[in-house]
């Protein structure tokens, strides 16, 4: 076993779900929710979390059935080689596009808050090269980095939030329950996009050393995400009120600008938060890039994924620089997530699960 570099634990796996899901979505989530749902956004986040948990349960059950198999191996067994290739291609495109979108938003945020005069290209390139180093080290390293990043970021940010709450205006929350059931149902897809990301376990679960009771770990990841979304939305909303949140590009970061620790050595804490957020984005992109290059290596029938990391970098680089401005980025990504995201994260697990129910016994029979 010594020297092996392909075993992660269940907790590390669900840790990756957390960073993969939270990522950059959390920056703009309060704005999206505040526009249409005001203080009922909490309800929506909660419902969104529950729906995501449902799909995640289906996905986990499916993966538990096929221990040590990635999505392509499962689909090959269930549907044949042709489907396997298609699914792999979908995943490569999906991850490349998702990463380039995250990278672009990331670069814009860094530019706005930290490096005003540095060209976006430099920021993106520096980030992509460091991430290559991390991803080439293997899934074990990625999962360990993720596991360290989560407490390192969560604890300081939670403490900072506490300092904000001291002059919060709770009146901002009122009035409650202004939206009908119809609105909620309409709103669910919107919220659900913020919960996309768990589909990464399609690949990573294959590396988990012990896949018993995995559901418990994965569901606690989803509840962690839901809780942090609710907390962030609550603090933002309480601090700014509906009208202001609507007009902020990244309400969560603006929230950090208002932090004022009495007697602190640093005045503008958002620099520190930005620094921590860089870590989150790393923890967010690296599993995605790993999955993308793994899928690419499977398409080309190569056992090693490492040589496919670097070739993906220029593609991501060019894609991320294609939109001229941020508005365009969000426009593209809206279109993309509307069609691509759900198909990978919702339809594919459900579809495969249903097929596995029919073919399941047969498949196991072949196995034995």
């Amino acid at each position: 076993m010594i020297g092996s570099n392909d075993k992660i634990t269940r907790a590390q796996n669900s840790g990756m779900i957390i960073t993969q899901t939270i990522g950059v979505g959390i920056l703009s989530l309060p704005r999206l929710l505040a526009e249409d749902f005001a203080s009922d956004g909490f309800l929506l986040i909660l419902i969104g979390g529950l729906v995501a948990a449902l799909f995640l349960t289906i996905l986990t059950k499916l993966l538990e059935k096929y221990k040590g198999k990635t999505v392509d191996e499962i689909s090959e067994r269930l549907l044949g080689k042709f489907f396997k290739e298609i699914i792999l291609i979908i995943f490569v495109i999906y991850y490349v596009v998702v990463i380039s979108y995250i990278v672009r938003i990331f670069a814009e945020v860094v530019k706005m808050f930290l490096l005003l005069n540095t060209p976006t290209e430099v920021i993106i390139m520096a980030m992509l090269l460091s991430i290559t180093y991390l991803v080439r080290k293997g899934i074990e390293c990625i999962s360990r980095v993720v596991q360290i990043v989560i407490p390192l970021v969560t604890i300081p940010v939670a403490l900072l939030m506490l300092t904000i709450l001291k002059d919060a205006k709770l009146d901002n929350l009122l009035p409650f329950f202004q939206i009908g059931i119809g609105d909620i149902i309409k709103g669910i897809p919107l919220v659900l996009f913020s919960f996309l990301g768990y589909e990464l376990i399609f690949f990573t679960t294959a590396f988990v050393d012990n896949n018993k009771k995995m559901l418990r770990y994965n569901l606690s990841a989803i509840s962690f995400i839901t809780t942090s979304y609710i907390l962030v939305y609550f603090t933002t909303y309480v601090q700014f009120g509906k009208e202001e949140v609507k007009h902020l590009l990244w309400p969560t970061l603006s929230l950090m600008k208002t932090v004022d620790i009495p007697g602190a050595f640093l005045e503008n804490i958002e620099g520190v938060v930005m620094g921590l957020w860089v870590l989150v984005v790393f923890a967010n992109i690296s599993p995605a890039l790993f999955n993308g290059s793994l899928a690419l290596s499977r398409i080309t029938r190569n056992k090693e994924y490492k040589q496919f990391v670097l070739p993906l970098i220029p593609i991501i680089y060019i894609l991320s620089l294609m939109p001229d401005n941020l508005a365009e980025v969000y426009e593209y990504i809206d279109i993309f997530t509307k069609y691509f995201g759900p198909s990978v994260a919702i339809f594919l697990p459900v579809f495969l699960f249903i097929v596995s129910l029919f073919k399941g016994k047969k498949g196991e029979g072949e196995n034995a």
């Binding site: 010594i2 490096l115 520096a126 460091s130 991430i131 390293c141 360990r144 596991q147 005045e267 620094g275």
Partner: protein
């Protein structure tokens, strides 16, 4: 092992080494019946070795039995040999008449009846006998027998046990290892009176033939780690081992890393504690530094005194150490990043102060910081090699140059001086010097990154450094355990950046995957047993 694949030239070496080994086996000379032949051959091999002493003696009633002893001058306890071997062979053997039977069994009789030395063994090849002579044993040749007797007589002047200079403690045992491995192993054995404490000797180094003792507690240790240590030791093909760091560098997992992957210590209590945690100790002859494998990040942040002090104090001290790590690593680069990219992060009053102190400084922040850090590294290097009065001079001159003159001359800002001082002190707050050295090296890269990309650069650097640390393994154990999978190893966090009271640390480290997982029984059982003990007394 994977890392050897990266060095393709190793294969060739291996083959050559194998050839050499075979050759050596062929030349081995058997012991001849004739004592003169043997002595001649030995003298031939040991030609020009004037520290080898040959002494031929005769015994028996009419001096008809011939013996010879050979030993190395200075490595042997001469008194022991003359009093308990020579005297009895020369003197006592003359008291009895010779019989035929006596002559045939001369060797056995001498071994059993005459030589009053505690440890006796025998060899049948001259080369091996010479090996023993060079270790410090005395060999006894008997005429007419194809065997050579080895009398254990090692004894040489050595440093007395003294407190280790590098790892001093306020409370704790004061004995430290010396340069003789037998003394060192005995110091460890005194702390672990358990038959399960195993000790396996190996000889490493074709010429130096250095003794390496592999020590472990059989029913605690993780077998795969032990096996890995042994196989890596066996793979070493080198002519000489002068210090334990040779072995450290030859068996570590990643030879490119600036961070140590084996712990080295001079303290027997630290080794005993490590053995109780299921680690493997390598006691190496001729050095007071013992190696411990595997070693992780959190182990390098511990000191053996951590377990002798009260837990709240130790916990605070540990937290201070974990705070001084980022200080030693990042402070200069943060200064660069904040002054040149993000002055807005500071409160207005502080920002104005920093700007005013930097007014007359003719360099950009990066150059300023670089000059100061470099000067300090030079000072440190100059100070380490010098001792006593000269060392103090260096300190005074350096302190004056850095503290006063540079600021007064307006080359650096006073804030920079403070930062450099804090950085250096923080790096000394880390318990392990070789570990801190890795971070000292990384500090310069961080300064460069901060100069190019500001705070963003520092974060990128942290990710890279973190990736490296996390990817490191020490004998299959993740270097960043238990932090890298804290959820699964929650009980290990009790002895990490804090230390809980001893009675709460019931489990041995989980990340080591040991055979015996528990250090202590549940508290109820402990109290019950205590009562019983008291009753007996």
């Amino acid at each position: 092992m994977k890392r050897y694949n990266r060095r393709p030239w190793r294969k060739k070496e291996k083959k050559e080494n194998e050839k050499n080994d075979k050759k050596e086996e062929k030349i081995e000379i058997p012991v001849s019946k004739d004592i003169d032949v043997n002595l001649e051959k030995m003298k031939e091999i040991l030609v020009d070795c004037d520290d080898i002493i040959y002494r031929e003696i005769n015994g028996g009633e009419d001096l008809e039995h011939r013996f010879a002893i050979v030993y190395t001058d200075g490595l042997t306890d001469k008194e022991l040999i003359s009093d308990y071997a020579l005297e009895s062979l020369m003197h006592q053997s003359r008291m009895k008449p010779t019989t035929d039977n006596f002559k045939h069994n001369l060797y056995e009789l001498a071994k059993k009846g005459n030589v009053a030395v505690t440890e006796v063994s025998e060899v049948k090849s001259l080369e091996k006998a010479i090996d023993f002579v060079l270790i410090g044993e005395t060999i006894l040749l008997v005429d007419g027998f194809k065997k050579i007797m080895i009398l254990s007589s090692r004894g040489w002047p050595m440093r007395g046990l003294s407190e280790p200079q590098t790892e001093t403690v306020i409370r704790g045992p004061r004995d430290g290892f010396v340069e003789t491995s037998k003394i060192n192993t005995s110091l460890i054995r005194r702390r672990i009176r358990d038959p399960k404490l195993k000790l396996k000797y190996m000889q490493i180094g074709k010429r130096s033939k250095t003794d390496v003792a592999v020590m472990y507690i059989e029913d605690i240790v993780n077998d795969s780690i032990l096996k890995e240590v042994k196989t890596r030791l066996k793979k070493i093909k080198i002519d000489a081992i002068l210090e334990s760091s040779y072995i450290e560098q030859l068996i570590e997992d990643n030879w490119l890393s600036p961070f140590p992957q084996l712990e080295s210590t001079e303290r027997p209590d630290a080794v005993a504690a490590a053995l109780y945690e299921g680690r493997v100790a390598l006691v190496i002859d001729n050095t007071p530094f013992t190696l411990l494998a595997p070693a992780t990040f959190s182990i390098f942040m511990q000191s053996s005194e951590d377990y002798y002090d009260r837990w709240p104090i130790v916990s605070i001290i540990r937290l201070i150490r974990y705070l001084s790590l980022p200080l030693a690593l990042l402070l200069p680069s943060l200064y660069i990043a904040i002054t040149s990219y993000h002055p807005g992060m500071l409160p207005t009053a502080l920002a104005l102060y920093v700007a005013s102190t930097r007014m007359g400084v003719p360099f950009p922040a990066f150059i300023e910081a670089f000059i100061m850090e470099l000067t300090l590294e030079i000072l440190r290097e100059a100070g380490t090699r010098l001792s006593g009065p000269i060392g103090t001079t260096i300190g005074i001159v350096g302190g004056l140059v850095i503290g006063q003159a540079a600021v007064e001359a307006g080359i650096v800002s006073p804030l920079m001086v403070i930062i450099v001082a804090v950085t250096t002190i923080a790096s000394f707050a880390l318990p392990s010097n070789s570990f801190a050295a890795g971070f000292r090296l990384a500090r310069f890269f961080f300064m460069l990154l901060a100069a190019v990309l500001g705070l963003y650069g520092i974060m990128l650097g942290l990710v890279l450094l973190g990736t490296h640390l996390v990817s490191l393994k020490s004998f299959g154990i993740p270097y960043f355990a238990p932090y890298s999978s804290a959820v699964d190893m929650a009980s290990d966090l009790k002895d990490s950046f804090i230390r809980v009271p001893v009675n709460f640390m019931r489990k041995r480290p989980v990340y080591m995957k040991l055979k015996d997982k528990n250090r202590m029984k549940a508290s109820k059982e402990i109290y019950n047993e205590k009562d019983e003990d008291n009753d007996r007394k």
